[in-house]
C-alpha cells in the first residue's frame, strides 16, 4: 500500500504484451483486466484521432472496413498512438480506476530501448497524470517471481521467444537473445491446417463472424456451412489475417504439443489423437501433426533452414548463443536456475522437452516451470503486482516531482 494524500491507495500494474495488455491492482493474484493488444480502426477520413475499437467489443466484432492494428513490431512497441487508449480502456473502462490517483508500475521487455521507456514514462506522467511511476523488466520480474535473484529466464510469448540471463537482479544484456520463433511455429501450424492430406482437404479458417449457418457433419467429412456473403466484401485484409491467426492460435492451444524426447515418428503416432472442431463445423482428430507443430520450437529441418536464411532461431540455438555470451563461471548457476514462463510455453510436453534438451549438454539442470497456467502466463504481471504492493518499494518509485525536476533522464537512473 502506498500512502498518497492520506489515503492508502493501491498501485496499478500494467503489463503490455503483444497479444494482450494485463492490468490490475498491485497485491492481486491475477490481473483484473486482460485486454487484447489488437485493436480495430477505420481509415475513413484519415484523421489521427479516429476511434479505436478495443477490448471485447473491439476486433472481435465485425465492422465493415475495419482494419486491425497492433502496437508491437519486431519485439518492441513500434506505435505508441494506441497505447494510451489501450491502457485507458483497461484501467478506466474495465477496472473503473482513476490512474491519476495511483502509482503505476509498467513492465518492459529486457531489450527495450531507452526512447521507449522514456516515452512510456511520458505517457504516464503527462497523459494519465500518475503520481508515481516505475518501469520494471519482465525478465527480472519473472526471475524474482520464481524466487530467484539469478536465473536464466526463458520466456515464450505470443510473438517473441527470449532468453534472459539475470544475475543478482540485473539482466545481462550481452547474453540476452530473442527471436520471432512463436510466429514461425504459428506459421507452421497454419501450413499444417491449410495443406490437404490424404484424409482431408485444406481446412477453412473462417471465423464464426463470417458464418451464417452450419450443419453438423461426421468427423473428417467436408463441412457444410454458409458464409455471410453480405460481410465478405466489407472484410479487410488485416481483419482476415487477424481472425485466421486467432483460429490457428485456438487450435494450437487445444491440440498442439511437443514430444518430450525429440522427434520420433512412432512415438508421435502412438500418442492419442485429439479431436478439434472449427467454426465451419469441420471436425477431425489430429495425430502426429499436432506434435510437428511444437517440434518447430526445438528443431528446424535442414531444408527449412536452407530455404529461409532469416529463419527465427530455435530454442537450442538461442540457448547456446545466450550462454556463449555469458561468463563461463555463470553458466552453471544459470543452468541450475532456468525459469520457463510465457503463455507460449504452455504446450504439453514443452517443459519436459526443454529439460531433455538442456540435460543433454549440461549437468545439474533445473527448470522452474510453474504448473499453474496463470503464473506461467502472467508471471511478469504477478511479479510486478507483488513488488508494487510492498510498502518499502515506494523508495523506488519515480515521483511526479522528480519527473518534473529531472525529466526523462530519471527513468534510466532509477530503473536500472
Amino acid at each position: 500500500m502506498v500512502n498518497y494524500g492520506g489515503d492508502e491507495v493501491s498501485a496499478l500494474v500494467v503489463d503490455i504484451g503483444s497479444s494482450s495488455v494485463r492490468a490490475g491492482y498491485a497485491g492481486d493474484d491475477t490481473p483484473k483486466a486482460v485486454v487484447s493488444s489488437y485493436y480495430g480502426y477505420k481509415t475513413t477520413a484519415g484523421d489521427s484521432d479516429a476511434k479505436l475499437y478495443l477490448g471485447q467489443h473491439g476486433p472481435s466484432i465485425w465492422r465493415e472496413g475495419m482494419e486491425i492494428g497492433n502496437p508491437w513490431r519486431d519485439a518492441l512497441i513500434f506505435d505508441f498512438n494506441p497505447i494510451p487508449p489501450l491502457i485507458s480502456h483497461a484501467l478506466s473502462d474495465i477496472m473503473h480506476a482513476n490512474p491519476s490517483e495511483h502509482p503505476i508500475l509498467v513492465t518492459e521487455p529486457a531489450w527495450n530501448i531507452a526512447a521507449n521507456r522514456e516515452r512510456m514514462a511520458e505517457i504516464m506522467f503527462e497523459e494519465f497524470q500518475v503520481p508515481a511511476f516505475y518501469i520494471a523488466n519482465t525478465g527480472v520480474l519473472n526471475a524474482f517471481a520464481a524466487g530467484k535473484g539469478s536465473a536464466l529466464v526463458i520466456d515464450v510469448g505470443h510473438s517473441v521467444a527470449s532468453i534472459t540471463p539475470v544475475v543478482d537482479g540485473f539482466v545481462l544484456r550481452k547474453g540476452l537473445v530473442y527471436s520471432a520463433l512463436p510466429k514461425l511455429v504459428h506459421a507452421h501450424a497454419k501450413h499444417v491446417l491449410t495443406t490437404p492430406t490424404p484424409t482431408r482437404g485444406s481446412i477453412d479458417l473462417y471465423p464464426h463472424q463470417l458464418i451464417a449457418s452450419k450443419i453438423p457433419v461426421e468427423p473428417s467429412a467436408s463441412p457444410r456451412f454458409a458464409l455471410r456473403e453480405d460481410r465478405l466484401a466489407g472484410t479487410t485484409e488485416s481483419w482476415r489475417t487477424w481472425y485466421e491467426t486467432r483460429e490457428v492460435d485456438e487450435w494450437i492451444q487445444t491440440v498442439a504439443g511437443v514430444l518430450d524426447q525429440g522427434w520420433n515418428e512412432q512415438v508421435a503416432a502412438a500418442r492419442p489423437p485429439r479431436q478439434y472442431e472449427f467454426p465451419t463445423g469441420f471436425n477431425t482428430s489430429f495425430g502426429p501433426e499436432r506434435f510437428q507443430v511444437g517440434e518447430e520450437f526445438f528443431y528446424h529441418s535442414p531444408q527449412l533452414v536452407a530455404q529461409n536464411p532469416n529463419l527465427p532461431k530455435n530454442i537450442p540455438t538461442l540457448l547456446s548463443e545466450s550462454l556463449r555470451a555469458c561468463d563461463p563461471d555463470l553458466r552453471q548457476v544459470l543452468m541450475g536456475n532456468v525459469v520457463l514462463t510465457g503463455g507460449g510455453s504452455l504446450y504439453t510436453g514443452f517443459a519436459d522437452r526443454l529439460e531433455n534438451e538442456l540435460s543433454r549438454n549440461f549437468s545439474h539442470v533445473k527448470i522452474h516451470a510453474p504448473g499453474n497456467p496463470i503464473e506461467r502466463k502472467y508471471g511478469a504481471w504477478l511479479g510486478g503486482s507483488i513488488l508494487a504492493s510492498l510498502g518499502t518499494f515506494h523508495q523506488l518509485w519515480i515521483s511526479r516531482e522528480e519527473w518534473q525536476e529531472h525529466g526523462k533522464a530519471i527513468v534510466g537512473q532509477r530503473c536500472k
Binding site: 524474482f144 524466487g147 537482479g169 504477478l382 511479479g383 518499502t392
Partner: protein, 138 residues
C-alpha cells in the same frame, strides 16, 4: 530493482558473532511481520548439518548464513555460505519478496564465499554445499 526492504542491525550483529567470534554455526533470517525489515529468526551452534536443514521450513522462504566446515586435501577449511531458501512450494508472493530483498541482506555481509539458491532440499544438501564449497576454492 529491489524491494527496498532494510536490514536490521540484529542481522549485522548476528553475522559478526558468527564470523568473528564464531558463536554461531548458522543464522536464519526472515522478514519482519510488517515486511519492512530483515531480521534474524534463529541462531544456533548446532554442528549437525541436518539440524540446520531441518530449520528451513518446507514451504516458506528464508535466508541463512552457515559457517560451513569441510576437509580439503586433508586440511580443515571454513567457508561462510549464504543460502537463499525459496522452496518451489512457497507462495509466489514470498518468493518475489525474498528474491527482491535478497541483495540488501547479501551485500551487508562481507566474507561470504559461497552463495546458494535453494529451491528444494537436494540443492542445499550437505553434498551439494560441499561441492560448491570445494569448487569455489579451486
Amino acid at each position: 530493482m529491489a524491494s527496498g526492504v532494510s536490514v536490521s542491525s540484529e542481522c549485522m550483529e548476528a553475522f559478526r558473532s558468527l564470523k568473528l567470534s564464531r558463536k554461531h554455526k548458522y543464522i536464519i533470517f526472515s522478514l519482519s511481520a510488517d515486511l519492512k525489515t530483515i531480521v534474524p529468526v534463529k541462531t544456533s551452534a548446532e554442528q549437525d548439518y541436518d539440524k540446520f536443514v531441518g530449520d528451513l521450513p518446507e514451504d516458506e522462504c528464508r535466508w541463512a548464513v552457515y559457517d560451513f566446515e569441510f576437509e580439503k586435501d586433508s586440511a580443515k577449511r571454513n567457508k561462510i555460505c549464504f543460502i537463499s531458501w525459496s522452496p518451489d512450494s512457497a507462495k509466489i508472493k514470498q518468493k518475489m519478496l525474498f528474491a527482491s530483498s535478497r541483495d540488501a541482506l547479501r551485500r551487508s555481509f562481507d566474507g561470504i564465499a559461497v552463495e546458494i539458491q535453494g529451491t528444494d532440499y537436494s540443492e542445499i544438501a550437505h553434498e551439494a554445499v560441499l561441492f560448491k564449497a570445494n569448487s569455489s576454492s579451486r
